[in-house]
């Protein structure tokens, strides 16, 4: 299938840096160009989607046509806190320890 007519706009290093930020991935400077190259190649291939006529088609997010399923509201026991905290990287008492949240997030 020809994809040449639908090639996406080139991805810049700034684009890659922006996506890495959205994805919460600290990509080192030297990796940016590698990712740029890989993503550009994949997007170039994916561009073939633009050549398919999709007019009037309802998007299909899921293979099963399921509606919401409601369960009975019955109290059940939870997993023990100790079991859940066993995997936590940092704990204080019965709580997860995290760095200061307010005033910290870079934007």
């Amino acid at each position: 299938m020809s994809t040449s007519s639908n090639q996406p706009a080139p991805l810049t290093i700034d684009d890659v840096r922006h996506v890495a930020k959205l994805a919460r991935l600290a990509v080192p400077q030297e990796r940016l160009a590698v990712l740029q190259h890989d993503l550009q190649a994949i997007l170039g291939h994916i561009a073939q989607l633009q050549s398919v006529n999709t007019e009037g088609l309802e998007p299909m997010a899921h293979p099963l046509t399921l509606t919401n399923r409601l369960g009975d509201d019955v109290p059940q026991s939870s997993m023990p806190i100790a079991d859940l905290l066993r995997n936590a990287p940092a704990v204080e008492g019965d709580f997860l320890a995290v760095p200061k949240v307010l005033g910290g997030e870079s934007s």
């Binding site: 190649a41 291939h45 073939q48 999709t54 998007p59 899921h62 936590a88």
Partner: protein, 485 residues
Amino acid sequence: MNIDLVQIRDDIRTRKTTARATVDQTLARIAHSNSQLNAFHEVFDDQARADADRVDREIAAGKSVGVLAGVPIAIKDNIVTRIGHTTCSSRILENYQSPFDATVIDRLTQAGAIIVGKTNLDEFAMGSSCEKCAWGVVRNPWDINRVPGGSSGGSAVAVAANLCAAALGSDTGGSIRQPASLCGVVGFKPTYGRISRYGLVAFGSSLDQIGPITHSVRDAALLYQCMAGDDPHDSTCAPRAVEDVVTTLEETPRTFRVGLPVQYRKGNSPSVDAAVARAVEFFKAMGATIVDVDLPLTDVGISTYYVIAPAEASSNLARFDGIRYGHRTKSKAAKDLFDLYAQSRAEGFGPEVQRRIMLGTYVLSAGYYDAYYRRALQIRRLIKQEFDAAFAKCDVILGPTSPTAAFSIGGMTDPLAMYMCDVYTVNTNIAGICGISLPAGFDDTSEKPLPVGIQLQAQAFAEPMLLKVARAYERAQGGRAYPSK
């Protein structure tokens, strides 16, 4: 027939052997070959022996035991188990111990199965070669310089090298069927929603499905039956009864139609085309009608998949943030919450996982959502409609599982070329239908004979018919072979 799970189960039950002897032999074979093959990340020797002794005591006491009593089963390491660790072959989950068992683990152990160990995969099930496993490459027992396929490569190798009676895999775009094909064993992906995903670490939630990798079709049918059915823990599990596929398995359907898509005939190895041609002859001899069907969007499937799967993955993998579980960076440079997330994730995820998270984030980002994600979902509907039209003309679709036999380790460095390995398998997941890969002979053009597989696909929830046709093929073809040594 060669030894399979059903045979082992029967031998234990009729006391021709014991569960303990079976488990001891399995553990001895793992101890002998795992350092070379790297199928297992973790093996539960002590617990497996204790479980086997319990089964033997129950049988000796004349108690009724489950349909899987005493059989050693290997579990892909992205299915959570209380025993041992669940790492997804990723550094980010290196020390993770699940506080609960997946529903499939509950169902298998309630039927008496013994969990013998956790098998390696491409990190987070993202790959087709098991070269992207944080715990080292997995090797194909037919030729240790070749890949086993992926992502359920460890499970496929464990079955192929007879290191377990059967194994579980997961299949998002071919991850059960392709490694089964490359390792010469049976790999079965049921219809989406047939088996609970509760406890399967999510990759592409609308595509993922757990399934068995086995020595025989009857093993696949039995494990499927043990695992299938609705689950209150998974609201995307199909709320419909599971038919008995085990007792009806040996009935060859009186008449059935085998569809051959023209799009499945280009770019394959001659050995793969020959395997499909042999299967056509087997089915003709059974009285099946062979019809041509048209699936023009076959090669668009890869593009569709590489929008939908990374999009869902980028969302699912957002949970690995270094806060509640998993790796947290020790870097002093992480001075705020954003840095902690970004640094922990960069240290914990391997390059392929990062590439897919980036791709998924990109196609979902403002300005690109409609052009990529929404459009891919529209094409997903078209692909589904194509299958519906094809299944109006046939009962099963026959073709290759993979275009080639196993490739050399390190031999495929371009990510896009690797993605193309799944051209015949991704659309099964995109449409949510079922498919099975069956051993179908060998490629003799390499130094060592390499297995090739055929794939049968059937409409959603048509497992009873798919398995009967697969079993009829297996009887005609003679079942799987074993690598020497």
